[in-house]
Subunit: 492 residues, 2 copies
Amino acid sequence: MTPGEHQPSSAGLLGAGVIGSGWAARLTLAGVDVRLYDPAPEALETTHAQIERARRAWRRLTTAPLPPEGTLALVGSVEEAVEGAELIQESAPEREPLKRALLAQASRAAPPDAIIATSTSGLLPTRLSADMTGPERLVVGHPFNPVYLLPLVEVCAGSRTAPDTVERAQAIYRAVGMRPLVVRTEIDGFIADRLLEALWREALWLVADDVATVEEIDDAIRFGAGLRWAAMGTFLTYRLAGGRAGMRHFMAQFGPALELPWTRLTDVPELDEQLIEKIVAQSDAQAQGRSIDELIEIRDDCLVAVLVGLKAAGFGAGEEVQRSERRLLDLASARAPVYRDGWLVLHEAVVVPEWIDYNGHMTEFRYLQVLADATDAVLRHVGIDADYIAQRGSYFTAETHLRHLAEGHVGDGLYVASQLLGHDPKRLHLFHEARRTADGTVIATGEHLLLHVDPSTHRVAPAPDDVLRAIDGIADRQRGLARPESAGRRIG
Amino acid sequence: MTPGEHQPSSAGLLGAGVIGSGWAARLTLAGVDVRLYDPAPEALETTHAQIERARRAWRRLTTAPLPPEGTLALVGSVEEAVEGAELIQESAPEREPLKRALLAQASRAAPPDAIIATSTSGLLPTRLSADMTGPERLVVGHPFNPVYLLPLVEVCAGSRTAPDTVERAQAIYRAVGMRPLVVRTEIDGFIADRLLEALWREALWLVADDVATVEEIDDAIRFGAGLRWAAMGTFLTYRLAGGRAGMRHFMAQFGPALELPWTRLTDVPELDEQLIEKIVAQSDAQAQGRSIDELIEIRDDCLVAVLVGLKAAGFGAGEEVQRSERRLLDLASARAPVYRDGWLVLHEAVVVPEWIDYNGHMTEFRYLQVLADATDAVLRHVGIDADYIAQRGSYFTAETHLRHLAEGHVGDGLYVASQLLGHDPKRLHLFHEARRTADGTVIATGEHLLLHVDPSTHRVAPAPDDVLRAIDGIADRQRGLARPESAGRRIG
């Protein structure tokens, strides 16, 4: 454990709705033993479903091995759930009298040094603790759905909460992968839900006034500002919109819009010099000395990462990236193939930061990614497009021999030069060199044996004549080309 | 071009601020010739900087080859910019009299069939077109910063706009990779900026009232709801929060919060049966028949994709994922190594959707990713951790021989069994089998030759004794193990 993290030995959960079962999933996956109380008959089923979703998500979030899972026990009373627990997390429905009674009951059976946290979205902890024994143990720990994936947890003390409780709650949340945000003022809705509510209330007006449908409203977010919010929030984003002149320029440029009827929220704060100065100073602190150009680069890296992620998921803005990609591939297929000194050059790439590993250079599987993309370009060139693959077959790679000859670094432009080593109706034997664009240095070679397969059985089957003729065309162009020295070699 | 897309031959841009230069970047990268008018002395420099950022971003967004770039010319007048242009895009500062005069001037010199679009964030097109010749050509085309990356563009007609203008503007925006959202009601702030303004105004209150700093407000978004907004927006997210009972249940559960003082926006719409019914019906339509379970799976896939992307960028919520990963690796290192039938088993993985290619199975470089992760686990096992790599050296892979023996499909559990084939002070020769957890089928093998390198020179150098002793330990455990038949083979 890093300083500031503390793995709890066990947790008692009260409530197994969407939020409570999400806590059960996050905690058991982090190796914490959980006792859960919820009188609803579907409580266990809901919780098992959440745990299964959490497993699926975390396996993809990291290739690091997960710890042995904590145990989950459904118990018959509040007292059994909280007995001996280091963390008690209440996630009952958002009704003050209900939560107040439940927390009071839990407080009487809980260990004297337990953390008693409530998942409330915005009720005030001082009021919720009114009937508790030992109210110094109560703290708000407000998570966000899905609890097992989103890092944020708002931590807010009531007037009777001990400072130590706030510290210890944060240490526990950090140890299970969360990001505590201390809400320093006890205010209805805390910070996050006030922002969510403002947006939500404006959205409800747009629907009520028939300006837009719920789908149009969601699209207005997820194809635009939502992508920025995921990485940077609102103030850092606006700092960039001011360009190099920064936050003060942005406020001067967009402040006047506060006087326009651009939302139903018209009771706006006066944008006087004092408020502007406060925002500018806080924004400077947040930027941690990073220039606008540096922040723009970070923003773009994050947006690309988010868009590439959504492309793989095939959803939201990722659909638009997929559509652009199809259009670009169509346009590229329409251009003539390029031969350089007899080698076929159909693929280029630039080494990007996410390809770099702990050794400070391009990680090995990214070399294969570049070479495999070149193989795909060769296949498209001989007529293997989406229609072909759907109806007539495909080439599968059976064997690959890679040699790493030089390191790839961020920003290196690369192109792949390809040579056909041999082919028959069922087999295609390719050789690639990944070369630096700047000086032609070969950073890796790949020798690849591909087999043509039938689209339905996935068994090896001869390629049709039109494809074989196109491959013959490459062979004709490369007849005089010397065979690469390393082709056919084995690892010695 | 797909139906509904139309690549414009040329574009005339008025204004080269953050938005105007962003348009120049998106359009030239899509192959459109651009003429740009902006009297500011830094206009050309700003625009070139945006184009360079756009190139960098798009190279990473897709490996598909980009088309030949369009040309960029800075011209000396509005008339020269718009002459002969198919698309005219005005991006002057957000002041109505200025935009109105500029659009009138442009309208007199523009081709009679040009699209004259304004980038206004929320001014009304009917008013902006007041002094234009041919106002039927004017349409709002409101993009979002950075214009070259975010797909959203709000399209809104004024009272004199021809329906054909709205259609043609959409076709042009689609052809350059954007997602047009038609705003059907001419309303101040359109849809997106009303939502942004509501959140922004609430954020300003939080700062003005000293409840939170700008950084805390941004953190409240980017570690929580911002990650959901990127994929799903607000209504679809809330549909899921209702659980299987869906949107009506959510409205019943969270509707009462509208009466709480959870934002400064207190003039809220009445949540009567009619409004609830409307929202429920629109939400059903948006879900397109997908069940809550299906939507939850999509949401989680998107959140994972966004988080994994941010992990690679090392920013925002990605920092939290990196922190969790370090903790998990530390915990795993502390556990004893596992031998099964003499093979060393240190790495497991599950095949996820983003590993699948157009052939419907795991794409070739992901096999190498799994095997390379197993190599990393072996290296950690012999003491090559972050400190070692920073100070004492590392192993670089020099050569790899892969054999693909069976297809990997989504959900397949895999583990990697490793055998040490040989070693000396400078070399490490490993053999991996990636096996399906369910039945032990070997889906791929990898033979890898690694070289130990000096941390400063990156030249081959002997590994130190402690590492060699740890490797000897594996050799001792595997002394009786048969050498794999395919080891040392070459591609035949």
